[in-house]
Structures are given as C-alpha cells and as structure tokens.
Symmetry: C2
Subunit: 344 residues, 2 copies
Amino acid sequence: MRKRYTTIKDIARVLGISVATVSRALRDSYDVRPETRKKVLDVATELNYKPNFNATGLVRQSTHNIGVIIPTITNYYFSTVITGIQEVAQRNDFNIILYITNDSPENEIRIVKNLSLSSLDGLLACVSSQTNFYTHFQDLIDDGLPVVFFDRVVPTIHTSKVMQDDFNGAFMAVETLIKSGYNKIAHITGPKGLQLTDNRLLGYYAALDQYGIASYPEWVIHSGFSQKDGEEDALKLLGGERVPDAIFAVNDRKAVGAILALKRNAIKVGEEIGVIGFTNDPISEIVSPTLSTIAEPAYEIGLKSCELLLKHIRKSHFEAQEVILESRLIQRESTIRSISRQSS
Amino acid sequence: MRKRYTTIKDIARVLGISVATVSRALRDSYDVRPETRKKVLDVATELNYKPNFNATGLVRQSTHNIGVIIPTITNYYFSTVITGIQEVAQRNDFNIILYITNDSPENEIRIVKNLSLSSLDGLLACVSSQTNFYTHFQDLIDDGLPVVFFDRVVPTIHTSKVMQDDFNGAFMAVETLIKSGYNKIAHITGPKGLQLTDNRLLGYYAALDQYGIASYPEWVIHSGFSQKDGEEDALKLLGGERVPDAIFAVNDRKAVGAILALKRNAIKVGEEIGVIGFTNDPISEIVSPTLSTIAEPAYEIGLKSCELLLKHIRKSHFEAQEVILESRLIQRESTIRSISRQSS
DNA sequence: GTGAAAGCGCTAACAC
DNA sequence: GTGTTAGCGCTTTCAC
C-alpha cells in the first residue's frame, strides 16, 4: 500500500503554526523568523518531507519538467546529447521527460499532439528526418510553450536552435580528403530537406569549388542515416560508371557501413578509396582502418540546448538565439594513402 | 507569454453544464447521457482540451510518471533498455523521467534521496556498479513506492527484478571457447559484489569445472566495465607468468578493448588468443576480427521491466517476480582458430 | 443523469 | 512575522 507522504499540514500541526508559515519557511522567504524557520526545517527533515510537485505545479502553473523529443537514443550522438541535457536539468532541479519518435513523423506528430502542455515547462526537440510539416511544433510555440530545437532544427520556425557547424565541418572533411590526394570525391548523405544535411552538402560543394574539383550528380547519394544505408550507398558508388576515390559520409555510422562494404569488395580503404565521417562516434576508433571524422560537440549541444531552454522558461521574453558550436577534424587511418596499413 | 489552457470549467461554461458532468463524460463513466458526452467530447476537441496532469495527479494521488535510474545511457545496452521501457510507457500513457547516475554511488544516493515520491508512480532502477549500501532503495520500497530492478539488481531487496541469464550465458561463452580448442581461459570482469558479475563468474567456473579445465586466480581480473578497462586487463594478462589462450570478457566493450590491445601487441586474435564478449553490441560486428558474443535481450529487458512495474502500480498487491530472460550465443571470428582470417 | 461542494497539497493575497 | 483564506484543475461523494 502506498504511504501518505508528509505534507506541510503535518509540519504545521506538529509545530502548532499555520501552513502558510511552513510554506514560507521552506521556501526561504525573508519574512519568517529565523528560529521558526529552523524549527520548520528540522521537523521537515525529521518527517522526511518532500514537496508535492503536483500541488506546486498546479498553483504555480509550472512543473519542473522539460520534455525531450528525439528520434532515437541508441546511438552515440543522441545518447550523448541527452546526457548533456540531463546534466543541466539535474543541476537545476528539472526533470526530463523522454519521448522517442523512432524517427517516424507519424510518431512525432502523435507525441506532440498528445503532449500535456500543462505538465511541461518547456520542450527540447530534434525532428525526425522525414518530417515535412511542422505545424504541430508551431502550435506549441503559439501556445506559448518554450521550445528549443537541436541538431535537426526546423528552419521555418522562429525559436532558439542549437547546432554544430555543419557547413564548415563538411568543408573541412572534404578539404582533408583533397589534401590527402583524393580528387574524385563522393558524398553519401541523409534525406533531402533537412537543414543539417543541406548544410553539409553545401560545405561539400564549397570545398570542391574552392579546389576546382569536379563533382557529379551520381556521386551525391541521399538515403537514410544508418550503417546499412552506408553499405548500400557505397555499393551503388562502386557499381556506377565513374567510381570515386573517396567518400565523405554524413555521419560515422554510414562511413562505417561504407568501409565494411568496401572491405568486403577487397578494396583497400584509405589506399584505394578514402573515407571520412562526421560525429566522432567511438566506433570510428574501433573499425579497421580507423575512421577519420569531424567531431561533433554532442555533449555541449545537450548542455547548451538545455541552458537556453531554461532561460526561455525563466524570462518570458528571452529572445530566440541560434547557437552554432564548432566541429573539429580528427584524422585517422581511413584518409591516409601512402602508409601501408597494419593488417586486420 | 504562456497561454492559459482549456480546462473542464471552460467546457462546462460553453455547454452550460457542471464541471462534474464534464469530468465524467471525459472519462467514459457510464452514468452520463450519450448525447451529453458527445457534446462534451466535441467541445473538448474544438477547444483543444488537454487534461492537467498536476490536477489529476493531486486528486488521484498518482501521476503518470515513472522514474528510471540508470548508470549511463551512452552505450548500446542501456540505451536499448531505455528504448524498450519507453515503448511500454508510451503505449500506456506513462511518462518516463530519466535520472542518470554516471555510475557513481554518490550521485545515485543523492538522486534517490531527492526523488519527489509524490510525483512518481513507480521506479525502474539499475544500480551503479560501486554501490554498497542499498538503504536508499529500501526506504523507497518501505514507503510503498513500486520499484523494479533490472540488469544490476540488488540481491537483498525483495521486489521484482529483471535480468538476462548471466550464469548460462557465461557458461555458453566459456563452453564455446573450450569447444573451439582453447583451454587456458581467462575472465576479465566488472567490480566484485554485483550479482551480474558474480553470476557470470560462476558460469565461467562451472564450464571450466564441467570440462575439467584449470583456472588460476590471476586469470580472473576484476575492474570496470569500459573499453579502457578491457585494454588494461588484457595487457595485465599478457604480462603475467601464465599467458592464457582465450579471454572471456564480461561485456563487449571490454572484449573490444582486449582485442585492440592484443592487436597492438601483434597477437592474432582468434588464432593465438580467442576472445568472446557478452551483450551483442553492434560494435561486435564492426571490430576486426568480428567478436563472438552472448547476445543479451536488452530491448526485452526494458519491455518486461516496465510491464512488471505497471502491474505493481496497478495492483497494489502484485507479488514480486524475478524474470530471467535467455541470452544466446553468436559466433563470429574472434573465437575461430583454424581459419586464416581476412586481413584488416 | 446531473449538480453542488469538498478536498488533494500548495502558494499568495490580504489581514492583523 | 504570522494566520486566514481563496483558489490552481480535477475527482468524487452525496444530494436530488
């Protein structure tokens, strides 16, 4: 049987004072006598008092919950972002309520429409890759709910956003390939229309442009974000008329998929075909050859998103901010031509 | 500015009926006229009514929140468990509130002690690996909060628990090594005192016993659960007087660490030293040679834990249950001796 | 079948 | 500095 928890009434009764005083003492209001406060605090600890968030939430019109909508958490990037979010939330006594969309727009819409707004102080969201309509998010914002987007942001909605530097990251990736001696560079990426993939694609084109290197439409392949997509894209590239000598993958999982597919086709990764990814997933150090990549500040993205959201929650007129965090190059074996690679 | 959301009062006013009726209509009580209900439902959708969980929670003494306490989420196993939990929770209209301990007992204790019990209907917990005192959990249970442990369970606390079959999984792992021709088998495992590691250790000994194979104390190394721990343990094994010809690692990350360390020492994994892990983390297919392992039903553990917890929440006298889910062998390259392995 | 009213635990005027 | 009281949105007796 569930126990009744201690309430401020209990404390008031024990001390023979009113609940108002107890409430004030508990919340460090200044208009309460120090000794009274001490007594209240003592009894509170003794009785193991814990505030009832439903009650405070009801009267204050605020809960200490923030929702997090995310496509999946079973990968390095997203789970690390969540860890960052959680860190800030915990430090500020906010709970995070997790909603996983499985990267399905239907799930996303269902979840957002069913959100009990009155039990949420704010929302952190990363949209699913196939989402086209964003009215469900716009509705929330119109209702006054603070929303901060991260990673996969919605360009058309005016609110705070936190991203890594996709354009420059991609530029660096392609530049690295070029400087390592590759000049037939393909790009395997995610679905069209996502700002993140668009920016990386733009970075890819910009680098090629700057170095006067040709690109062909069949060298840019749009598909999903998974390892399997990476394998399939690589195979497609191998089977084409013009076979590239390097692949820039939109993320590490696709890069790993590509590496695995290339190896299966007896192609020496690095030597014959260079591969570079994006993320700095721990697998990039495990795969052989190890994967060069653009490191994303996943944890910091989590921190920053949550901090921004808290600001929106606290100041009702905090102006929307777009934060772009730097990504950085990590060179490993998969983009090295000359060296004879260690076996296995 | 945050909007005021539609309440049952608004609906009542529009329809000129009482809030009581609205409340009843909304919850499918039978004692309300069908046409009244229809009108209420219509207005509710029109006004985009969403119940205020703080209010229902207050009066029903129940929120629809369940807490999840977990050491970390940035690995395959835990993030998959969470995904399973989330699946069941979402289907049953429960929110999950995530607490990450970073595998630190201090964090765990702080989090548990600060839990606002009145805003939680139940708790799912996986203890951190160094936790010795469990009174903070026992207190919750004594207070009547339904708690279900998963994976790393607390042996001394009477409540429902969900685990994989650690003993038989370990037995299978070691048996596989033996049958593949290895007979100097080491075990690198996690901290002492955790039921999970104890059971795997027991399975290790049982298999050795059954096949009449010797073990030496220096072949059983207790350390942490990380890849780095795996590397260090492997190095220690290589530097010892008796060098084993096979390593059974408590999880895949440690196994991968061991493989990397062995490769760095020019040891042919599989051929010279066999390695088997536990989990079936996707990295086990990426590392080269690919890693044999015991697959854990992570997703199912999440599902089952959450289902059990919901039963406890719904029936106040649901008896505690211990569920052990099967693990299964997946053989890959790291335990194959004869075959000449593909390079890189 | 429906309404009036009390109350869940807490905060915030408003008194004194 | 402290008490009284109304009320947050909802459910639930108890009348009628």
